[in-house]
């Protein structure tokens, strides 16, 4: 077992070292594409970390992403960069904690609707504050951060998220969440503090999303609520995680990478019919791969003689 882990760790480190060399290719387009890939990989993995085991479908990705981006817009020129990132992470964690405590008692469709509303709520609060208090709407971010810096930060965050996810899955917390996902009532009867477990993981996942928003913000120079709180991000992340398979830590990557490449290909080749083709592809995914790519792999290995798995799609 430990040799397997060591081997896996070594492979991961080697892959990380190789990926860190991407900015050296010197092609800004590939770098932009790589940034996009990492951004969605982190977001989808963070989404899957909470929503996979608990099966709470969250549409709040944009809310946390936006909080991160806006923190940079406000503090980017005032504080040194590491402090800005820390503040963003702290803000994301606080918001997630409050939201988690007050809403994780909701379940099913109510939770989905609430998280979607949360994005709009935070966005309107920001607008209200900017209009009535600071009297500027639209802030400029002039910080000394290159595209390569953004890429490396995202890469580090990706590594951190996978390590964190791997550790959580092996901890008591991870086990508690899987029980909650199977049956919350049973979990309670087993003496699991379900509220604590859910809020803790929701906060971890949201903090990561907030950090992604903060890291990405210097890419745009100009930030206003409609740019920072673009609800498309929530939906794209959800679809990516579902395509990959949210019940595995490595599942969302299998959705994020092909879908980001697909979006890129479609917007380059079919700029005018992009949305139509996209809609058809989503239909195909839902009908053909209800358990995601990860589920497909498991099914293949089962038919090839492996152990049958008992999991149900998230």
């Amino acid at each position: 077992m430990s040799t397997r882990i060591a081997g896996f760790g070594a492979t991961a480190l080697a892959a990380l070292a190789l990926l860190a060399l991407v900015p050296r290719l010197g092609n800004a387009y590939y770098l932009a594409l790589a940034i996009s890939l990492l951004q969605y990989t982190v977001l989808a993995t963070a989404w899957g970390m909470f929503s996979g085991p608990t099966r709470y479908v969250s549409l709040a990705t944009t809310a946390f992403f936006g909080v991160g981006a806006y923190t940079v817009a406000v503090l980017g020129e005032i504080l040194p960069w590491p402090l800005v990132l820390l503040t963003a992470a702290a803000l994301g964690a606080i918001v997630a904690g409050i939201v988690g405590l007050s809403t994780l008692r909701l379940s099913g469709v109510y939770f989905v609707i609430f998280t979607f509303g949360l994005t709009e709520l935070i966005r309107q609060l920001v607008v209200w504050f900017e209009v009535n208090k600071s009297r500027v709407l639209g802030r400029y971010v002039f910080v000394n951060i290159t595209q390569a810096d953004i890429y490396w930060q995202l890469l580090a965050l990706t590594a951190a998220v996978f390590l964190l996810g791997w550790l959580i899955a092996r901890s008591r917390l991870g086990f508690a969440l899987r029980v909650i996902g199977e049956d919350e009532t049973v979990a309670k009867h087993c003496g699991i503090n379900t509220t604590f477990a859910k809020v803790a993981l929701f906060t971890i996942s949201a903090t990561v999303m907030t950090l992604v928003g903060a890291i990405m913000a210097p890419r745009w120079t100009y930030i206003e609520p409609s740019i920072a709180f673009n609800s498309m991000i929530s939906f794209q992340v959800l679809i990516m995680a579902l395509l990959g398979g949210a019940h595995r830590l490595w599942g969302p990557v299998l959705g994020a990478v092909p879908l980001t490449l697909l979006f890129e290909l479609l917007s380059a080749r079919f700029p005018n019919t992009f949305t139509i083709i996209l809609g058809c592809i989503f239909l195909l995914i839902v009908y053909m791969l209800p358990r995601g790519v990860a589920g497909l792999f498991e099914k293949l290995s089962t038919t090839a003689g492996g152990k049958p798995t008992q999991r149900v799609a998230a």
């Binding site: 092609n27 800004a28 387009y29 590939y30 770098l31 932009a32 594409l33 996009s36 309107q124 607008v127 209200w128 900017e130 209009v131 009297r135 500027v136 709407l137 639209g138 400029y140 002039f142 990405m216 890419r219 745009w220 120079t221 100009y222 206003e224 409609s226 740019i227 673009n230 498309m232 890129e264 917007s267 380059a268 700029p271 005018n272 019919t273 992009f274 949305t275």
Partner: protein, 419 residues
Amino acid sequence: MAPVDAPWEEKMMTFLTRRTTLLAAATCAATLGLTVIAEAQTSIKIGYAISRTGPNTGGAAVTTIPNYELWVKEVNAAGGIKLGDKRVPIEVVQYDDRSNAEEAVRALERLINQDKVDFILPPWGTGLNLAVGPTLNREGYPHLAATAVTDRAPELAKRWPNSFWLLGTSADAAKSLVELLNKLRDEKKIGDTVAMVSIADGFGIDLSSAARPALTNAKFKLAYDKSYPIGTQDLAPIVNEIKALNPDVFIAFSYPPDTLALTEQSRIAGLNPKVFYTGVGTAFPLYKQKFGKNTEGVMGIGGWSGDSAAIKDYLARHKAAAANGAEPDRWASAVTYASLQMLQQAIERVGKIDRAAVIKDLQTGTFDTVIGKVKLDNNMPTRYWWVGQWQDGEFYGIAPAKNEGARAAIVPKPAWVAP
């Protein structure tokens, strides 16, 4: 500047034409196969990413896309852009930025690194122009922002010497408006009560923040000063409240949907102050279509020298070229077209694809355009139209009054008539 919904017929038309184009393109590609290679040196590749979907679609479809298409068509009909002693046609590569900053940045990086375009035309709107600024600067492409209004324009021009901010600053817009009001008051045409509303978004906030102190310093009485959120459907309470105050001047720093709604509501409620001013959208052809005779005397942001031969000619060409005979808007459209003429003249004077030299020429040269002679100072024009007024079916520039071709304002505004 902000979104306006195109009427569904228009959308249908664009959809149909797009589909036909796609079909035609597919057929061409199939029949021609690979025979089109090896013509790279004989054309100038121009790329742009524009909002064909998302909230910016309305603005891009009125102001930017028709002018890009008109210009390319005209230049290619004339044989192309003159490089040295031969003319080379323009080849267009275009993408949809989906009104999304991240998408716009990536589309530009694709245009530069994959499609290797020679020049890039900017996206529509303040936010997207600012988003693509650093990329164009880093890669050394001229950036002719014709649809961005930002108070940081002078600073941005210094930071990115390749960027040109052709629509000016909102502080300037507010200043010109207050100067006009001051003059009208000195002429005893209006009193000093002003009612001001603004949309709670970049444009409304910037302009009202600049207008508020300017009005107070000029000793105007600000009887009403409120903002409303984007997407407010019912503006009747605001209009009724203002009507009760009976102001001499009504100012709305509004976006197209609410510009239309405020005008309609004012007509219904009979709010007819001596000066009636609305924001983005007043200069749109749609405004004239919707309000007809009732546009008479309405002031708004923008304007152009409607009496100039160049503008009349441009209007006719624009109408003839647009698929559905659409007219340009009377503010940023002509500026957008002028920016393309400037780019062409700069390229022709340099005589080869040398972007650094083209940027230099744009900074220092004088250009002959539809909006008259343009010579930039610190990468910004020295002359803008800030207040226009509908007079007899045309939206003429009335302020700043020192501009060539400025008309006198019609004050008081005539009464609303039944539609």
